[in-house]
């Protein structure tokens, strides 16, 4: 049986892992390669790195870090942040990443998804989407609007309309990182996660809001997610990956428990 994936997310700034609530109050969590090796040894199923400064400062991705991670671990990992061209994607994949995650740049240049899927295969192309809850159901039938650039800019796009189009274009996986839940540790935003998971034929990853393993159970069972991203719950040391997996196993969720 296919197991549900637990994916730690590392926000990296100048080769240090940081964690904050809605990109505020960042705390230094040390070396990303060391942390990746530790989480991998503890049994995470995949990892995702967001080079959060790459986008804001328009710097290219830190390829040295990608190479160091690829040498340190032997499980799949995705890299996102500031990937805006086929050449960017190629560099990151050749450095050893399994997937590239494209968010703002996909909204600004949707063709990037098609070009990336055709050049490298859609399994490499992850769409990151940051939806925010909105009241205006007339303009946004799903009740969610897509934001970009770290939640700073609204796009006027309905989340469901955008995700369907992005998957048609070539996204092979979708990360739903809801603005309202991100960093709250009060649980994933289940309604939009489920809407997306039921609408697209590719795997969907719940992101933002995990504070307890019950939240992951809900993401899988009620949100219909195929995988879940965790950050603060792990980084603080409050929960470990084996403890989360034992909890999920006891709740009847299939997880990989031997590695």
């Amino acid at each position: 049986m296919l197991t549900r994936r637990i994916i730690p997310c590392l926000d990296v700034r100048n080769r240090r892992v940081t964690k904050g609530v809605r990109f505020q109050q960042n705390v230094d969590l040390g070396d990303p390669v060391e942390r990746a090796a530790r989480y991998s040894a503890e049994g995470c199923d995949e990892l995702v790195f967001y080079d959060i400064t790459a986008s804001a400062e328009r710097r290219p991705i830190d390829l040295g870090m990608v190479e160091a991670v690829a040498r340190a671990i032997s499980i799949p990992f995705a890299v996102g942040g500031g990937i805006g061209s086929l050449a960017d994607m190629e560099r990151v994949l050749l450095a050893g990443a399994e997937k590239v995650s494209i968010n703002s740049q996909a909204v600004l240049k949707p063709e990037l998804l098609r070009e990336g899927a055709s050049a490298f295969g859609r399994q490499c192309i992850v769409l990151g989407m940051d939806p925010v809850r909105v009241e205006d159901r007339h303009r946004f039938p799903s009740g969610y609007e897509v934001t970009i650039q770290g939640f700073r800019r609204r796009t006027g796009l309905d989340a469901m309309e955008w995700v369907r189009r992005a998957v048609d274009l070539g996204a092979g996986e979708v990360v739903v990182n809801a603005v309202d839940a991100d960093g709250t540790r009060a649980g994933y935003e289940l309604p939009i996660t489920r809407l997306v998971a039921d609408a697209v034929g590719v795997p969907v990853v719940a992101s933002g809001g995990a504070g307890h393993p019950d939240h992951l159970v809900a993401a899988f069972r009620e949100g219909h997610a195929d995988a879940a991203i965790v950050a603060g719950i792990l980084h603080t040391g409050e929960w470990t990956i084996p403890a989360i997996k034992d909890y999920l196993h006891a709740a009847g969720i299939p997880v990989r428990r031997v590695w």
Binding site: M1, L2, T3, R4, R5, S40, D45, A70, R71, S74, I75, P76, L93, L94, A95, G96, E98, F120, G121, Q123, G172, E173, D198, G201, V202, P203, H224, D226, A227, R256, V258, W259
Partner: protein
């Protein structure tokens, strides 16, 4: 020397790094003469069967691979490599493969729309026979998969291991004699995947 065949079908970085982590030197090559001289072949790949086969034919790697397989050196196909060693692929209305083993690469299809394709993530690989590739493993370990087609060899004895997805069981490791091939990615399957690659390096090509 471990020879990793490069035929422009995906990224070989993680395959090369996996052997490095185990302390073995591996050469990545697209040159048919280098492939002919190999004493151990790794045949990875992701992507479309049609463009992969076109590249193999254009470069003459197809003939080199058939020759080297006949020399009975250990051969390991990975992912697309496990599909195009068969005679046919159902991809894009039908593509001829290398025919190293008889059989067809078939598309994963499900009547239930909730079962997603590609099959992506960690799934159990249950061995049907005892094969040197799986030595020291439990016989039902989880490996990392990402694929939309699977290898279906015509001889049942060529099914080395099976995996269940969406209520359907497909061959996830196949082989005969010196040829073995896996649909999953051992190079991305952590410690257990590295163990399988280490077993491959120590394998004499006999079962």
């Amino acid at each position: 020397m471990i020879t990793i065949v490069d035929y422009k079908a995906g990224n070989l970085t993680s395959v090369r790094l996996a052997f490095e982590k185990l302390g073995f030197e591996a050469v990545v090559t697209g040159d048919p003469e280098t492939v002919r001289r190999a004493d151990r072949i790794v045949f990875p790949g992701v992507g479309a069967a049609s463009s992969a086969m076109a590249t193999l034919r254009r470069t003459g790697l197809d003939e080199a691979l058939l020759e080297v397989v006949r020399r009975e050196i250990p051969f390991l196909g990975i992912c697309l490599g496990a599909q195009i060693i068969l005679e046919h692929s159902e991809e894009q209305g039908g593509v001829a493969g290398l025919g190293i083993l008889s059989g067809t690469a078939r598309r994963l299809t499900f009547s239930d729309p909730r079962v997603k394709v590609p099959h992506m993530g960690w799934n159990a690989v249950r061995t049907r026979v005892s094969h040197p590739l799986f030595a020291g493993l439990s016989g039902e370990d989880e490996f990392y998969f990402v694929h939309s087609y699977y290898p279906d060899p015509s001889e049942p004895a060529c099914r080395l291991a099976m995996t269940e997805y969406g209520g359907f069981e497909f061959p996830s490791a196949i082989g005969r004699g010196n040829v073995a091939a896996v649909q999953f990615h051992p190079e991305k399957s952590g410690r257990i995947g590295l163990r399988l690659l280490q077993n491959f390096v120590g394998w004499d090509g006999r079962c």
